[in-house]
């Protein structure tokens, strides 16, 4: 099981890299087509306003298929590992990094299906690949759980919910990056700013409640294990900061003067906070420190 999990992880990593390369080729093909002005207005889809413009469709299809393959391989890797360890993928940074990468792939594929925006992959996949690369630097050996981590169900749900939130936030980050690199009105055949704004919002609409749930479940667990639902432990405080930033974003989208660029900037800030929360273990101690590299 342990070996199978490792093989599946490698397969997932390779598929993700290939998916990224194909996505870049797909983006470039659109660029060229846009330059040549040969756009035959391939906007026949029913989802009006969400057409990506002229691109070599088959390359895009391969990119998507490879991303699916990567997600499937990582799913297998996590499932095998769960069987090997007997608990969910939360006991150390290796397991959690693979799960985070998995969450990104799944969230990306979900939004890609819904909004037909493959180019989100240009940002989302590098993040997922970076996490997998990071995972390879951490020993993946299986170690028994310290007592505080032995409350399996609560912990599994706590982490699973966090993964969904983090995956959605990465998609929002991708949308914000693509939004901010373009001049007003759109450029380079990238998704239209309005569409990106919508995708960013929708990912937060998914991610925000999931982050809320993560924090609440963390508080429930802290109350059970440590007798105090909130103790300003650095990790929980960092997730609270993340939550506040995305809360601010939800308001920014409806306040004059904050809409658009500033809202997108808050998505970048939120993602920075997400990463800080995630990697926080490495530079602050606290009650979560046992979940670190040891």
């Amino acid at each position: 099981m342990y070996k199978l999990s490792e093989y599946a992880f490698v397969a997932g990593g390779l598929s993700a890299i290939l998916a990224l390369i194909t996505s870049v080729a797909y983006a470039a093909s659109g660029l060229r087509a846009a330059r040549l002005q040969t756009s035959p207005a391939a906007m026949t889809g029913r989802t009006i306003g969400f057409s990506a413009g002229p691109r070599t469709a088959s390359i895009g299809l391969y990119a998507t298929l490879l991303a699916w393959l990567a997600a499937a391989a990582l799913t297998a890797s996590l499932v095998f590992r769960t069987f090997a360890t007997g608990h969910g993928p939360f006991a150390n940074m290796y397991e959690f990094s693979v799960a985070f990468a998995w969450g990104i792939l799944v969230a990306y594929l979900w939004f890609e299906r819904r909004y037909h925006q493959r180019l989100l992959a240009l940002v989302a996949l590098p993040v997922a690949i970076a996490l997998m690369a990071y995972a390879t630097t951490i020993p993946s050996t299986i170690e028994p759980l310290v007592p505080a981590l032995q409350n399996n169900l609560l912990l599994t749900v706590h982490v699973a919910v966090a993964i969904v939130a983090y995956g959605s936030f990465t998609v929002a980050f991708a949308a914000a990056i693509l939004y901010l690199v373009q001049p007003e009105g759109g450029r380079w055949g990238l998704p239209k700013p309005g569409v990106l704004d919508e995708i960013g919002y929708r990912s937060i609409v998914v991610g925000f409640p999931f982050l809320t749930l993560t924090i609440v479940l963390g508080a429930v667990w802290a109350d059970i294990a440590w007798g105090r639902y909130w103790s300003w432990d650095p990790k929980e405080t960092a997730s609270f900061v993340t939550w506040l930033i995305y809360g601010a974003y939800l308001h920014a989208r409806v306040v004059r003067g904050w809409r658009g660029t500033w809202a997108a900037a808050l998505l970048l800030l939120g993602f920075a906070a997400t990463l800080f929360t995630y990697f926080g273990n490495l530079f602050f101690g606290g009650l979560h420190s046992y979940a670190g590299l040891g």
């Binding site: 028994p144 809320t212 109350d223 440590w226």
Partner: protein, 493 residues
């Protein structure tokens, strides 16, 4: 959510701004100004970000342990410890309260302002939401049908009366409520009209959580470092009449890594001497009795010590938890007092095999007079069961025990906090997943046919747009309608 507050769905004007312009409750003079500040979304946004920045400082900077801030001496010592890390900034951070952010005046002020603002906002939004649900704005200008974010028109091969019946039947089939406009040509249909209240509940939930935290801080009690040695009974702090006994403590370790696999304290609770509860407490499995909870927190060695006077009367007998560690020599220490002789005794455990003063297996007692003197009256390293006489008293070290570190808490605010969390989560989930559907319809005669125009507010929402599109398709699918003019515009600008 703010859609509801507007008196007229003006195309292109985003919902929340309209909210800021419509004072729904008027309060006089200064109060009015305060009110408008508190209900400003811009202020809310800034407050949220400031709170985030303060909390971030609390994660980046080392926070002083509780109690240190109040004790000037401990504080100075603690600051010296962190000075190498922050250099010249140490004083600045300390002056700004950033080493105890969550107790700082800044944090409290911002949190209080945000709570007040959230409450004010909710109060302000309520009438608009109720109004939209009960007496919605039905009559809209013609231009609305040309500029609304969602809009479409179909031509039906039947007269306006039949067309209207068809539209109403279709919408009713989808559980829409329908209200006719005064001009006879306009219809308003909506569904889930009370859902915007969920957003309000989500906001109020934040206030509920703050209330819960305040209740806990005011009426609660917490001792995170309660130590008790095996075989001892001690009064439970903060809970008169209650005492706790540690019957035994067990710990076990993983053979391969040496990491703890389990540790557990067998506790018995007494109320006025009578046993009222008994449980083996482990991490994740606290003992809860009458609102007070006992959590397994940490553990360590203890010494069973006896002190008898010249006549052989026992002045002290029991387990002394060696709950502190000394920087010097890596030794663990504990303490107890002998009030009859006005003495304080420190019990010092061994620092390990290389410790020549307190050798492994030994326990050292250092006896101090309670007059503030820093030098002990005497100090002796005791072997088990070999008494030594100090100040005329005989000190015996029986054997080594273990102590258990418990966190004892009583927090009557917790249920309120859980209520708030539940409302928060479900409030926002419902608000996000079940949009208030609102459609305005205008039916006009066009030759022998009728033209049905649909329009709806709300930002571009793909699934909602698709739902509207399906509804409209269904309207156009009737036998009389073979000629459908599709005039749907892009759902977004």
């Amino acid at each position: 959510m703010a859609d509801q507050a507007r008196t007229r769905p003006v195309p292109g004007v985003p919902p929340a701004d309209a909210l800021e312009e419509v004072p729904l409750i008027d309060v006089d003079g200064a109060l009015e100004r305060l009110w408008s500040v508190l209900t400003s979304m811009r202020l809310a946004l800034v407050l949220i970000l400031v709170l985030a920045a303060l909390a971030l400082a609390g994660t980046i900077l080392v926070q002083a342990p509780p109690g240190v801030a109040a004790d000037p001496e401990a504080r100075a010592e603690w600051l010296n410890q962190v000075r190498p890390k922050y250099g010249g900034w140490t004083g600045v951070f300390d002056a700004l309260g950033l080493f105890a952010v969550f107790e700082s005046i800044w944090f409290r002020l911002v949190a209080a302002a945000l709570t007040a603002s959230t409450l004010a906002c909710s109060i302000r939004r309520l009438p608009g939401i109720v109004m939209t649900a009960t007496r919605p704005h039905v009559d809209v200008a013609e231009a609305f049908f040309e500029h609304a974010p969602h809009r479409e028109a179909v031509i039906l091969r039947e007269g306006p009366t039949a067309a209207r019946q068809r539209v109403e039947a279709t919408l009713r089939g989808h559980r829409y409520r329908i209200i006719a406009g005064s001009d006879g040509a306009t219809l308003y249909a909506d569904r889930f009209r009370w859902v915007p209240l969920a957003g309000l509940v989500g906001h109020l939930a934040l206030v509920v959580i703050v209330v819960g935290a305040l209740v806990g801080a005011t009426f609660g009690f917490r001792d995170p470092d309660f130590v008790i040695a095996e075989g001892s009974t001690a009064a439970v702090p903060g809970t008169p009449g209650l005492s706790v006994e540690l019957v035994s403590f067990r710990d076990s370790y993983y053979a391969n890594t040496g990491a703890p696999s389990d540790y557990a304290s067998e506790l018995v609770l007494y109320r006025d001497g009578a046993e009222v509860a008994r449980q083996t407490v482990r991490v994740n499995d606290p003992l809860r009795y009458d609102g007070t909870s006992f959590y397994q927190s940490f553990y360590g060695p203890a010494a069973s010590v006896r002190v008898a006077d010249e006549a052989g009367t026992l002045l002290f007998a029991g387990g002394v938890p060696l709950a502190w560690s000394m920087n010097e020599g890596n030794r663990r220490v504990g303490t107890f007092t002998i009030p009859e002789r006005d003495l304080t005794v420190w019990v010092v455990g061994t620092g390990g095999p290389s410790d020549l003063v307190v050798r492994p297996g030994q326990m050292r007692v250092e006896v101090y007079r309670n007059d503030g003197s820093a030098t002990p009256v005497d100090a002796v390293s005791l072997d088990p069961n070999k008494p030594a006489v100090i100040e005329g008293l005989s000190f015996t070290f029986d054997r080594e025990l273990q102590f258990s570190g418990l966190s004892i808490a009583r927090d009557p605010g917790t249920p309120i906090v859980w209520l708030g969390c539940t409302l928060l989560f479900f409030g926002f989930v419902i608000r996000f997943t079940v949009p208030h559907r609102r459609i305005w319809i205008r039916i006009s005669r066009q030759g022998g046919h009728s033209r049905v125009a649909f329009a709806s507010v709300g930002r571009g929402d793909v699934s909602l747009g698709a739902e509207y599109a399906r509804l409209i398709e269904e309207v156009g699918r009737g036998p009389a309608a073979t000629d459908i003019a599709r005039g749907r515009a892009a759902t977004r600008a």
